[in-house]
């Protein structure tokens, strides 16, 4: 990290930690949404930003996690936070099963398959598959989490729970990006043929990145389920996947700071314009078009790695 980044991170952390003290509960709740979408976007970033795989069905994994938590908690009485790893496992396993046969597909084809998977899952949830998902009404009565015996109920309590998880996520994924695995993913994204040629097991790494991202989205699903206490198929529509996809691309695929900034802008900013509720999405669509034209790489594109060899021609 450069000095500037360190200062930037310190300011951001301090600002986020102090936020609930100065904001009213409504705005704290908006920041909770930003945090949840931030988590989702960070998890998609592993797949889309780091490994360069177009996944536009991310809401499906979010849904699997949320439903895993809801079912385990309401039917079997398992405390919500204990279901967190289980939700991650469920979403990861689901991703492994559905992605295995299609992971080799190139760009657009993978994108459209993931859209299809997301939609099939949503239809399955609506149709009350296995009699577990509660059909179109979903599942209600999901319990609140306990942290060290304290029941998390108010927005600012959720705020610290969610953002602590965001901080953990940034830490874990930062380590991941700088690991052998993370570097391999970048090679794979930038030049799959060369990556394959230099001995990176492309298929296995692609699948692994997909599963890791999906598992993390599943855990974000746990937080969503316990915050809302009610979930239904509508919460996991195609547009959720689109929004998360846009957050990653707008913020800067591959750069976690950019991705979080994207979550603030796409989820947080529209709240400021609540007064114009009906025209908000119109403007949103327009802004996305304009943004892509004027700043194609996203707001904060990742910097090239410093250990990159000097260009032979220069």
């Amino acid at each position: 990290m450069t000095r500037r980044t360190k200062i930037g991170v310190a300011v951001a952390v301090a600002g986020l930690a102090a936020a609930p003290a100065v904001l009213n509960p409504y705005w704290v709740d908006v920041l909770n949404s930003v945090g949840l979408y931030g988590l989702l976007a960070l998890s998609l970033n592993v797949i889309l930003g780091d490994a360069g795989m177009y996944n536009m069905g991310h809401a499906a994994f979010y849904a699997v996690g949320a439903y895993a938590t809801a079912i385990l908690n309401t039917r079997y009485g398992i405390p919500v936070l204990w279901t967190l790893p289980l939700a991650g496992l469920a979403a990861g396993a689901f991703a492994a099963v559905v992605a295995r046969p299609v992971i080799h597909l190139r760009g657009d084809y993978l994108l459209i398959v993931t859209v299809g998977v997301g939609e099939i899952l949503r239809i399955a949830l609506v149709n009350d598959v296995f009699g577990l998902t509660g059909g179109p009404n979903g599942i209600f009565g999901i319990a609140r989490p306990f942290v060290f015996g304290l029941k998390i109920r108010k927005p600012h309590q959720f705020y610290y729970l969610i953002w602590a998880f965001v901080a953990l996520t940034v830490f874990v994924f930062h380590r991941l990006q700088h690991s052998r695995f993370g570097r391999a993913l970048n090679y794979l994204r930038d030049d799959p043929v060369a990556a394959e040629g230099s001995g990176i097991p492309t298929g296995r790494y692609r699948l692994l990145a997909f599963v890791v991202g999906a598992a993390w989205a599943g855990m974000a699903g746990t937080l969503y389920a316990t915050k809302m206490t009610i979930i239904s198929p509508q919460s996991f529509s195609f547009w959720e996947s689109v929004v998360v996809f846009m957050i990653v691309i707008l913020g800067g695929a591959g750069n976690m700071a950019g991705v979080l900034l994207g979550a603030f802008l796409i989820v947080g900013l529209p709240e400021v314009f609540r007064g114009f509720a009906s025209a908000r999405l119109l403007v949103f669509g327009l802004v996305m078009m304009v943004m892509m034209v004027v700043r194609t790489q996203g707001l904060l594109p990742p910097r090239p790695r410093r250990f990159r060899l000097p260009d032979a021609s220069g």
């Binding site: 177009y54 046969p101 299609v102 597909l105 190139r106 760009g107 657009d108 084809y109 994108l111 459209i112 398959v113 859209v115 299809g116 998977v117 939609e119 099939i120 239809i123 399955a124 609506v126 149709n127 799959p192 043929v193 195609f238 689109v242 996809f245 846009m246 691309i249 707008l250 695929a253 009906s278 025209a279 999405l281 119109l282 949103f284 669509g285 327009l286 802004v287 996305m288 078009m289 943004m291 892509m292 034209v293 194609t296 790489q297």
Partner: protein
């Protein structure tokens, strides 16, 4: 048997509509390698413009209804083509040299924009097409009663597809489109104005999609501002099923998907009707990603 025949004709009518939308996807993908996510919303726009024209032209007076519907469809096609062309100039052309993902997001932005523009203009509720425009009679085919509407919709889409097919294969402009789809650089070297070809594709595809929108309005009688994305996704599935970039493939894929879906809804489960299309999509991508009529393309990983 009766039920099978009914579902078959229903599937062919709906399949014809899918095929018309699929043509727009496949032409754009053929030339630009871009999934035009806004295409489904251009289809919706067609349905709504059709509704506006029907009510303002007072077509339900039954004065020259057949001619009236024809003029109506042509007007809608023209209007939607203009919007498609505008979209190309504003949302896609500036991104031609950019990474693929930015174009995808711009397309999604355009889709959201169009969808909400339609919602703001026409309202969020379902809108109903007048029921008395086309006769609701049934005709007897091989001893089975089939709604005339199905035959009309199916014939109309076949006529439009035939016109497109001839245009693409028999005219200079059509040849230019095919050339640009194979190799833009080479086409440019041969003196083809590729920018014009791309604009042309964004006029013709949306025009066909707009016509499909009117047909859905006439066939189902109900339209909603969000219907574009489901139809769009299914039409895209049809395009992949036939072989993306391949025009006869899109037609075949559309009809096939319509029939599969109709039979699946009747014999498997109505509740899973929409899932059947996506299942077909995933299966085809696993088994034969190039589609039924698609040729093997050099893998650009």
């Amino acid at each position: 048997m009766e039920q099978f025949f009914q579902q078959l004709t229903n599937g062919l009518a709906v399949g014809g509509i899918y095929a018309l939308i699929a043509l727009g996807y496949t032409m754009v993908y053929g030339v630009l390698k871009l999934i035009n996510f806004a295409h489904g919303d251009l289809f919706t726009l067609g349905a709504y413009l059709g509704l506006t024209l029907i009510t303002s032209l007072a077509l339900h007076d039954r004065v020259g209804v057949a001619l009236g519907v024809l003029v109506l469809v042509l007007m809608v096609m023209g209007l939607v083509a203009v919007v498609g062309g505008l979209l190309e100039r504003t949302a896609y052309r500036p991104l031609r040299e950019s990474p693929r993902l930015s174009a995808v997001v711009s397309a999604l932005g355009a889709s959201i924009f169009l969808q909400n523009a339609i919602m703001l203009i026409y309202g969020a509720r379902l809108r109903v097409y007048p029921q008395d425009i086309l006769p609701r009679t049934t005709v007897h085919l091989f001893g089975v009663g089939v709604p005339l509407m199905r035959i009309l919709i199916f014939s109309a889409s076949v006529v439009l597809m035939a016109v497109l097919y001839l245009w693409i294969h028999k005219t200079r402009m059509g040849t230019a489109i095919r050339a640009a789809a194979i190799d833009q650089g080479a086409a440019r070297l041969m003196g083809i104005d590729v920018d014009r070809v791309i604009l042309l594709v964004f006029l013709v595809g949306p025009a066909l999609g707009g016509a499909a929108g009117v047909m859905v309005g006439l066939y189902y009688g109900q339209i909603s501002f969000t219907m574009g994305w489901l139809y769009g996704l299914k039409a895209f599935t049809a395009a992949i099923l036939g072989g993306i970039g391949n025009i006869p493939g899109a037609m075949l894929g559309g009809l096939l998907l319509g029939v599969i879906e109709a039979l699946g809804a009747a014999y498997v489960s109505l509740a899973w009707k929409d899932a059947i299309a996506f299942l077909v999509l995933i299966l085809i991508l696993i088994v034969r990603p190039t589609g039924i009529l698609g040729e093997r393309v050099a893998e650009k990983v």
